[in-house]
């Protein structure tokens, strides 16, 4: 029973085709990577799945519900969360508040109860703090809880984005270039982190990445995009030697990296 199902998803920006005929079947607990040269439409796919854009054509089904046309916050509440290519943290809010904000949909009290500090309000607030701090601790960020997120070093900011996404209690996590700007040691630590959260939180993960070291090591299978079209799908070692893929990346450097 696939957790995510996309059929014929196509999206145009004005006259420009950004994504053509994208298809995917994601089984629960899979770790799938989407790769391709810059501008291939990878982030657009994420945006389509999360509802930032409404697909011009095609259908996307998540756990049996159609999600094309639903507003983003509803899709997130259904269980899809993501991080961003360019970090989009709530800069002037603390680390703890960034995570607490993502618990929005889990909260059941209404504004009147917030106004009067009713029992339910107090209980739920304590619970949110508890859950958020536990989550931060899980990702070794709890010591920074009261710092403004804009003051964190880059690597921790990326980790905070992941923590924030996890706070929405997703079943499917979309990671957009989580290793951007990292050196090989940091990438190794990131790989461990991804494995850990996948297991601890029972996640299905869809990953966009350029760093082939990461992609080749942790992805169970890959989808390759170029100019919005899917040019190859399969296991990492199959993709490595696929001539179409090599051509798309246009370079012996890429080829060498993928074999490494």
């Amino acid at each position: 029973m696939a957790i995510l199902n996309a059929r014929g998803v196509t999206h145009y920006f004005g006259g420009l085709g950004a994504v053509s005929n994208f298809n995917i079947d994601l089984e629960p607990r899979e770790l799938v990577g989407i790769i391709g040269p810059n501008g291939a439409g990878k982030t657009t796919v994420f945006n389509l799945i999360t509802g930032v854009y409404r697909a011009t054509q095609g259908s996307i089904i998540f756990e049996g519900s159609r999600i094309v046309g639903k507003p983003p916050n509803q899709i997130t509440a259904l269980g899809i969360a993501r991080t961003f290519q360019n970090i989009r943290l709530f800069k002037e809010m603390t680390v703890l508040d960034n995570v607490r904000t993502a618990c929005y949909a889990k909260v059941k009290y209404n504004p009147i109860e917030a106004l009067f500090h009713t029992g339910r309000f107090c209980r739920e607030e304590e619970e949110i703090i508890s859950r958020s701090m536990d989550l931060l601790a899980h990702l070794n960020l709890d010591i920074h809880a009261n710092e403004l997120s804009k003051n964190l070093p880059y690597g921790l900011q990326r980790r905070l984005e992941i923590a924030r996404a996890l706070a929405t209690e997703p079943k499917l996590l979309l990671l957009d270039e989580p290793a951007a700007g990292m050196n090989s040691q940091e990438v190794d630590r990131l790989m461990e982190l991804i494995y850990r959260i996948k297991n601890d939180f029972n996640l299905t993960i869809l990953l966009i990445e350029h760093q082939m070291h990461l992609v080749m090591n942790i992805c169970e299978r890959l989808i390759v995009l170029d100019f919005g079209e899917t040019i190859a799908q399969g296991k990492p070692h199959e993709i490595q030697n696929n001539p179409l893929v090599l051509e798309a990346y246009l370079g012996k450097e890429m080829h060498k990296e993928m074999q490494g």
């Binding site: 989009r88 943290l89 809010m93 607490r100 904000t101 504004p111 701090m133 009261n146």
Partner: protein
């Protein structure tokens, strides 16, 4: 030397322990209200000073309410006086034309409340364009809204049209004004330090990310506009019953500009900031009154200087710790204690 150290430490300890007191803010607000009662009943202050204090109170409510939209949510609403006008006219209509004469004093709080609710309903309408438009375009919407309200009142004869509406008794007293001011501080602070408040801030920081982190931005925007306009309406009602005369001109773009200045002067996104900004602005205007027309030349100049050196206002995004709920201040510390320390 030793004695002084000891005293400092004791003060620091006391201050620290004070931070843990959950009912600190309500107690403070209660004290302020009590003080206003005492001052009013025993005429402890000159009547003129009491008048200025009442204007301060009304302006605090206005600044706080606008800060919610402009400071916490990061929008640029330029028609706030429109909400104030709605509240003023509804309340005045009730006390002058509807309530029986001998009961106006007792029913005054009802009139004020009705003004607030009326303004809140109008605020609900303004919330809807905010779903799709942002930034400068929303500024236009709020600007146009303010002008439409003013123009509409000018065209309604029963409300006196451009000539204005008279006949209100001076029902706004120091205790009433401070009661509503204290209430507004309490209410807005509770909203800000709740799930919805975090939603508001996240919209300001990054609306798209906020949406994607499960925040129901439509719901949040509605709450913000309704609460904000509710209190602006309250302020309007109190204003009408202080001045005892209102006209559309009292609620024009200049009034909206005044409120904007108070908010940005005191500091966006800060309750203490709004209180400070409203107080400084009102008091300064009074103090500089002998300068005549030149005080309005000096004031803007000082404002410009302030903006150049402190662009976010005096308190700018920082909050006075007495306004922050204890739960939020000690969230991580208490969690660590529960987990048995690290």
């Amino acid at each position: 030397m030793e004695n002084r150290e000891g005293v400092f430490n004791k003060i620091r300890q006391f201050w620290g322990r004070l931070m843990h007191v959950r009912w600190l803010l309500p107690a403070l607000l209660g004290l302020v209200f009590l003080a206003s009662l005492v001052i009013h009943h025993f005429d402890l202050l000159d009547l003129y000073v009491q008048l200025v204090l009442m204007y301060v109170g009304i302006n605090i409510i206005l600044a706080l309410s606008l800060n919610l939209i402009n400071g916490y949510m990061g929008e640029f609403s330029v028609g706030h006086a429109g909400f104030m006008a709605v509240g003023a006219y509804i309340a005045s209509w009730l006390t002058v034309k509807v309530f029986p004469v001998h009961l106006t004093a007792c029913l005054f709080p009802l009139a004020v409340l009705a003004g607030g609710i009326g303004a809140a309903l109008v605020g609900l309408i303004v919330a809807f364009p905010s779903f799709k438009t942002r930034g400068d375009y929303l500024a236009i919407v709020t600007l146009a809204f303010g002008m439409i309200v003013k123009s509409a009142i000018e065209n309604i004869d029963v409300l006196g049209g451009p000539r204005g509406f008279l006949g209100m008794e001076k029902l706004s007293t120091l205790p009433w004004v401070f009661f509503w001011a204290a209430l507004s501080v309490w209410a807005i602070r509770n909203i800000v330090y709740s799930n919805f408040g975090r939603g508001v801030l996240s919209i300001r920081e990054d609306e798209i990310a906020s949406d994607l982190m499960s925040v129901n931005t439509k719901e949040v925007k509605i709450i913000v506009f309704v609460v904000s306009s509710f209190f602006a309406g309250i302020a309007g009602a109190l204003f009408a019953h202080l001045l005892q005369f209102i006209s559309p001109r009292a609620f024009d773009i200049i009034k909206s500009t005044d409120i904007l200045i108070m908010v940005y002067l005191g500091g966006i996104g800060s309750i203490a900031g709004s209180i400070l900004g409203a107080t400084i602005y009102t008091v300064l205007l009074e103090v500089l009154r002998p300068m005549g027309v030149w005080r309005m030349v000096l004031m803007p100049l000082m404002l410009v200087m302030l903006m150049i050196f402190r662009p976010r206002g005096i308190m700018g995004l920082k909050e006075f710790s007495w306004f922050i709920p204890v739960r939020d201040i000690f969230a991580s510390i208490r969690w660590r204690e529960k987990r048995g320390g690290r």
